[in-house]
Every structure is written in structure tokens, then in C-alpha cells.
């Protein structure tokens, strides 16, 4: 294991919250506690949740807040050791062989030369292990790899050492902070889960989404931001194939601003529908008769100067039909 003492910590949960806010990430205490404990207990953090709720962001923000580098391993089906760990630089090896032609060195000596560290291409896992200071290692969408690779990952996350046949065993100088994300397309093994602290990120509440829109969308008025947050709260209750996440909210808000809209109406929603709903079927559902009623509820609540929160349940019921 690397040096535990030298790791920078962020004080406590409040400090993490402040650091996250400073980086523009609107987090609640649940998220901040998980990040804080992941650092304090030195355990990987497994983050699950629907697409677009800001799972990947956690690692980015964590790296910035800790002032360290982020190393990202993007997982996909068929990801193998050569892409995740290391590969030999064949071109460089061949050049060296050419250069050494006639040098009189024995094949064994030459082999030793070209299978040594300068000829190694470091892929994310090896980069993370050999990094001069503890980085944040983001293993993104870990549910996409197959079971064999998951077992391999588990081994790396336990031992923090990697064996390369030609070179030997490389141990981590500084154990990285690890964030794993999963969209739950495949059930992860219990062993991997138990290796990690767990955080589930749900779709944001109305208040949180409002805060995110106000913070992240330049030029948005509070009135429009409230309408957007309320609309999404309702829309997520619709019977959809793909429920819009926070990324969609931000895209949509930006589109509305670009179109110089200061409030929601049917025309504005229909023109920008593609930002929120990515299935043809979902767009049809979203354009349905509930839309007029929902927009009316939002407009009415704001006209009467009520807090929109009071109307959220009603909006949800409208969406559920």
C-alpha cells in the first residue's frame, strides 16, 4: 500500500460540500459524505444511477478539489488488458531492432532491451499505479466490461500491483482514489460491490435542479429556471423509454435561452423537444394532451405568486395520467 499519511484530505463533509460548490457541482450531503468517506477510509466509491445524473462529474470534481490528476478508464464491451493496462510499443521496438543490427549483441540482450520500460505504453490502470502522486482513477461504466475483466479489476483494486511478464511486478507508489460508475446495464459482482463504498444518485429534486440550472445556465431568469425544474419534475413521471437526466436539462435550458424564451409554452417546448426526449415514442408522449395542462398549472402557480413546489404533486399526477 502507498503512503496513507501523505494523502491530502479535505477536512470534513462541509469542506467537501464547499469544494464541490466551488467547482460548480451542486451536491447534497449524501454525495459529499460518500466522497469524504471514500477519501478518509481509502476505499473505492461505486456510483450508480441513471444516465445523465452526474456520476462521472463526481470524479472530475474530486480530482480538481484534491488538486490531483484525473485518469480515466472508459469501459466498453470487449475492453482488454492491452487497452486498460499496458501494451508494447511495437514501432519503437522494431526501430530499435533495426538500429542494433550488426551491433553484435546477442538476441537475449536485445530482447531484454526492447521489452523494458521505455518501450512500454502505459494505459490508464498502469498510469494510475505509477503516478507520482495519488491521482483520481475514474473507471467509467464498469458494468460494460465482461465478468473476466471485472475479476481482473477487482484484483488490481485489492493489491494495487501489476505484473508484466517481461519486467516484473510494479507496485503502486501512491494508492489512487478510485471512482467507479455504473449504469446498471449488468449486475456487478458482489465481490466488487463489497470492495467499494456505495452511492446511488437519483434524479435531482426540484430544489436541486433549480439550483443547478441557475448555477450552470448563463442568462436564465429565476422564473424560467423554476418553470424548467418543475417541468422536468413532471416529465420524469411520464411513461418514457429514456428519462431525461441533468445533462438534458442543461441542454434544453441553453436551447430555450438561445431561442430567447423567457417562459415555457407549447410552441417553445415542441421546438426544443429533441433536447429532452431522445426517442420518437417519448416525443409523442411528451407532446400529448398532458402538456397543455401541465404548462397551465405552472403558469397559474407563478401568476398567483405561489411557490412552484406546492404544485409539484399535481404536475406529477398529470404526467402519470
Amino acid at each position: 500500500m502507498g503512503d496513507v499519511e501523505a494523502r491530502p484530505t479535505l477536512g470534513d463533509v462541509e469542506a467537501i460540500l464547499a469544494a464541490l460548490a466551488h467547482e460548480g457541482y451542486i451536491a447534497d450531503r449524501e454525495i459529499a459524505t460518500a466522497i469524504y468517506l471514500s477519501i478518509e477510509l481509502h476505499k473505492p466509491l461505486l456510483v450508480e444511477g441513471a444516465a445523465g445524473v452526474g456520476k462521472t462529474e463526481i470524479a472530475k470534481v474530486m480530482a480538481r478539489a484534491l488538486g490531483t490528476d484525473l485518469i480515466r478508464l472508459q469501459c466498453y464491451e470487449g475492453l482488454d488488458v492491452h487497452t486498460a493496462l499496458y501494451e508494447w510499443n511495437y514501432q519503437k521496438q522494431m526501430l530499435r531492432i533495426r538500429l542494433e543490427e550488426g551491433s553484435g549483441r546477442s538476441p537475449e540482450e536485445k530482447e531484454q532491451t526492447i521489452f523494458s520500460e521505455p518501450f512500454l505504453l502505459r494505459r490508464p490502470l498502469l498510469q494510475a499505479i505509477t503516478h507520482p502522486r495519488a491521482p483520481v482513477l475514474l473507471i467509467d461504466e464498469v458494468d460494460r466490461v465482461d465478468e473476466e475483466f471485472e475479476a481482473f479489476l477487482l484484483e488490481v483494486l485489492s493489491d494495487w500491483q501489476i505484473t508484466i511478464p517481461e519486467i516484473g511486478t510494479i507496485r503502486a507508489q501512491h494508492v489512487p482514489y478510485v471512482v467507479l460508475t455504473s449504469n446498471r446495464t449488468r449486475e456487478l459482482s458482489d465481490a466488487l460491490r463489497r470492495r467499494c463504498l456505495y452511492l446511488w444518485i437519483d434524479y435531482p429534486t426540484f430544489e436541486k435542479e433549480l439550483a443547478i440550472v441557475l448555477r450552470k445556465v448563463p442568462g436564465v431568469s429565476r422564473r424560467l429556471a423554476e418553470q424548467i425544474a418543475a417541468f422536468l419534475h413532471a416529465a420524469r413521471a411520464l411513461d418514457l423509454q429514456k428519462v431525461p437526466g441533468v445533462a438534458e436539462t442543461l441542454d434544453w435550458s441553453a436551447a430555450l435561452i438561445r431561442l430567447h424564451r423567457d417562459h415555457l409554452d407549447r410552441e417553445a417546448v415542441e421546438r426544443t423537444l429533441g433536447c429532452l426526449f431522445k426517442h420518437h415514442e417519448d416525443q409523442r408522449v411528451a407532446k400529448g394532451p398532458w402538456l397543455d395542462r401541465a404548462l397551465a398549472v405552472i403558469a397559474e402557480a407563478q401568476r398567483d405568486g405561489q411557490a412552484l413546489e406546492a404544485s409539484l404533486d399535481r404536475l406529477e399526477r398529470l404526467a402519470k395520467g
Binding site: 470534513d12 463533509v13 450531503r29 449524501e30 459524505t33 460518500a34 469524504y36 468517506l37 471514500s38 478518509e40 477510509l41 476505499k43 461505486l46 450508480e48 464491451e77 470487449g78 482488454d80 508494447w88 511495437y90 521496438q93 522494431m94 531492432i97 543490427e101 538476441p107 536485445k110 530482447e111 526492447i114 458494468d143 465482461d146 446498471r184 446495464t185 449488468r186 449486475e187 458482489d190 460491490r193 463489497r194 467499494c196 463504498l197 456505495y198 452511492l199 446511488w200 423509454q241
Partner: protein, 377 residues
């Protein structure tokens, strides 16, 4: 560490046990983490206390719900006043004494073993009629069993991305080629090759055992049993109005034994059919089994008494998440049958291979068809 009753440590240990009893993936290691986490947060702050446990004890979304349901009732009765004192005591001693070795945690671990509880999946309330499988003649089904094995292999095979050494053609193995190259200096006298390994698909089998399928049921069970025996990674479910996982029941060396266990554990055998609701139940509870390497094999006649839309949506989702969807319909063999049931029509657009499965001949055809299709895919 004071093991006296009522200390915070004891309470956390006991809480961990209750979570585990409720089916949460949680053991001594999690409790040790939780105790370490409590040292890192301000435990006087009730919310901090709750979140620290919530980050360390559960590891699954389903388990979070159990945690939330149990947290208040458990901790409400326990005075939080005493906690700060306990927690402050703990850190200094915990460093001298590894938590996992603490007596209470050890006791917890032992207790977990003798008190091991199975999580109740489905209550057997729906037992309407147990079926007597004793009429099975094992010899008459031997031929079919062999065919099923061949089919299973077809379905379960695919190319791997991992490679292994090969003699000729296929892809160059750069690493080995370079080594050979070194032996000879300049040119490439010899090229090393690798080829892809054959890898296995996982199969998820969803078998309709409702009343309308009754005639075929014994054949179907034979089919499921043989399939599970032929390929390691098969998850089997039967459904009528609801779904039951039967993988474990079928994992027994004799068919008769498997049938016995099945008839005892499957509720609602030969009841009505709610295909859509059953598939939805599958997605909700076992959706994690699906990935791009999973072949979903549905055996049903498509007579659905539930809502067509539920079925259509479930099929859409299964199709989106699995590698391939195969639907075997026993009725397809009957002369004049057209797949016109509303359920079947709703499901068809999401089916890759639609085939008959009413007798040995139809299975043989299926085997040929799969041979062609899967190699192409």
C-alpha cells in the same frame, strides 16, 4: 472497545445483522467500515451519522431501500446521547485493536453463519395446483435431449475478443512476431498468428407454463433441464401469472429430482397467463442478468390475458438490452396456426428468431436455422 450491551459499537453490529437478515449484502467487513466511518464524521449530528452508515453498509440500490426502511425504527429507540461518548472512546482503542478482530464483530460473523437466512423471494401463496410429474418417461425424451444440447451449444457460442495462438492466417500476433524476429535479425522469416477464442453466451430462459401451454409443459421442462445441463450459464424462469426463478431447482443431476423440486416450488402452475406482467417482473428483479452477451429464449404460445402494451414495452426493453431474442412457439407447428394472438403480434417486432418447438422435428429445424443465423451474427 467495551463489549457491554448498549454501546454504539454493539448497536451498529446488531444493525448490520438486521440488514443482513433482511437480505442486504452486508457482513463484518461492512460493519468494520461503518465503525471507521463513524470515527471520521461528527456522530452527534444525526444526519451525518445516518449518511455514514448509509455509505458503508449497503452496496446496492435495493439495499438502500431496506436500509432506509430499517434505519428509523432501529435507531429511534436508541439514545443518541450516549453515542458521542462511545464514539470518542472507540478511535483511540480501535487503532490498537483491529476492528474486524473485535469480539462483537466476531460474534456477529458467527451468528451470521448459524442464523443464515434465505431472503424470501416469492411467497408460495399462489400455489393453486401442484402438478404431478411422475408420468414422465425419461427414455422417450432422450433423442430430444440430445438435440437440445446441440441447440444450446449453437445459441451459447460466439466469438471472443480475446485471442489465442493459431497456426495460420487470422490476425498477426505482434508480440510473438517480434520475438521471432529478434532471433533472426533483419527480415520477418516467420509471422506469429493469433485467432479469436470462442466464447460463451449466457442464456436467459423464460418458459411459459400456463394453462394454455399445458400439453407442452412436460416437454418444455425437459427442454429447460437439458439446456441448463448443456450450457453452464443458463438462468431459467417459468411464468404464468407471475414469474419464478427455477435455476436452482433444475440444478440437480436427475430430471426426476428436478421435477420434484419444481412442483414443490413453483406456484400457480398451469394458471392463466400474464406474459407482459411476467416479463416486466423479470426486468424489474433480474434485469441485471441482461447484457449484450445474453440470449433471451422465450418459450410461449403468446396467449396473453394481460395488457398488450405492457408486453410490448417489456419486449422492447428486453430487445434493447440483450444480444438476441429467440421466441419458441409450440403452436407454430399446428397446421393453420398464424401468430395472430394479440400478445404474439405485439411481441414479434422484437424477436430475432421466431420458431416452432412442438416436437423433435421442429427442434431439428431450429438447430439448422440457428447454425446459419448465429454464425452470420
Amino acid at each position: 472497545m467495551r463489549p457491554e450491551f448498549g454501546s454504539l459499537t454493539e448497536h451498529v453490529v446488531e444493525f448490520g445483522r438486521r440488514l443482513r437478515a433482511a437480505g442486504v449484502l452486508c457482513g463484518p467487513a461492512e460493519v468494520a467500515d461503518a465503525l471507521r466511518a463513524l470515527q471520521a464524521v461528527d456522530v452527534v449530528d444525526r444526519e451525518a451519522f445516518r449518511l455514514a452508515l448509509r455509505s458503508t453498509l449497503p452496496h446496492r440500490r435495493e439495499d438502500l431501500r431496506v436500509f432506509d426502511a430499517l434505519f428509523e425504527p432501529y435507531w429511534m429507540g436508541r439514545a443518541t446521547r450516549q453515542q458521542p461518548q462511545d464514539a470518542r472512546d472507540a478511535p483511540s482503542q480501535a487503532q490498537a485493536e483491529p476492528l474486524a478482530g473485535a469480539p462483537s464483530v466476531q460474534r456477529w460473523a458467527q451468528g451470521a453463519e448459524d442464523g443464515e437466512q434465505e431472503v424470501p423471494g416469492y411467497s408460495p401463496l399462489e400455489i393453486l395446483g401442484r402438478k404431478d410429474f411422475s408420468t414422465f418417461r425419461e427414455d422417450e425424451l432422450d433423442a430430444i435431449a440430445r438435440l437440445v444440447v446441440a441447440i444450446a451449444r449453437r445459441i451459447a457460442t460466439r466469438w471472443s475478443r480475446r485471442r489465442r495462438r493459431a497456426r495460420r492466417s487470422h490476425a498477426l500476433d505482434m508480440r510473438r512476431t517480434l520475438r521471432l524476429h529478434l532471433r533472426w535479425g533483419g527480415a520477418f522469416p516467420e509471422l506469429a498468428f493469433q485467432r479469436r477464442r470462442v466464447r460463451k453466451h449466457r442464456i436467459v430462459l423464460l418458459c411459459d407454463v400456463s394453462g394454455s401451454m399445458d400439453v407442452y409443459s412436460r416437454f418444455l421442462i425437459q427442454f429447460v433441464y437439458a439446456l441448463q445441463g448443456a450450457v453452464g450459464r443458463v438462468e431459467s424462469f417459468v411464468f404464468s401469472t407471475s414469474l419464478t426463478r427455477v435455476t436452482r431447482e433444475l440444478r440437480t443431476p436427475s430430471l426426476r429430482g428436478a421435477l420434484d423440486r419444481l412442483s414443490r416450488s413453483v406456484p400457480n402452475w398451469s394458471g392463466g397467463t400474464k406474459i407482459g406482467a411476467s416479463l416486466r417482473q423479470f426486468l424489474d428483479h433480474y434485469g441485471g442478468l441482461l447484457d449484450r452477451r445474453t440470449v433471451v429464449l422465450i418459450v410461449s404460445d403468446g396467449w396473453d390475458t394481460g395488457e398488450v402494451d405492457v408486453l410490448r414495452r417489456a419486449m422492447h426493453e428486453i430487445r434493447a438490452r440483450a444480444a438476441r431474442v429467440i421466441w419458441l412457439n409450440p403452436l407454430l407447428g399446428s397446421p393453420g396456426y398464424q401468430p395472430l394472438t394479440r400478445g404474439m403480434q405485439a411481441a414479434l417486432p422484437y424477436v430475432d428468431v421466431f420458431a416452432s418447438a412442438h416436437n423433435a422435428d421442429s427442434l431439428r429445424e431450429l438447430e439448422h436455422a440457428l447454425g446459419k443465423r448465429l454464425r452470420a451474427g
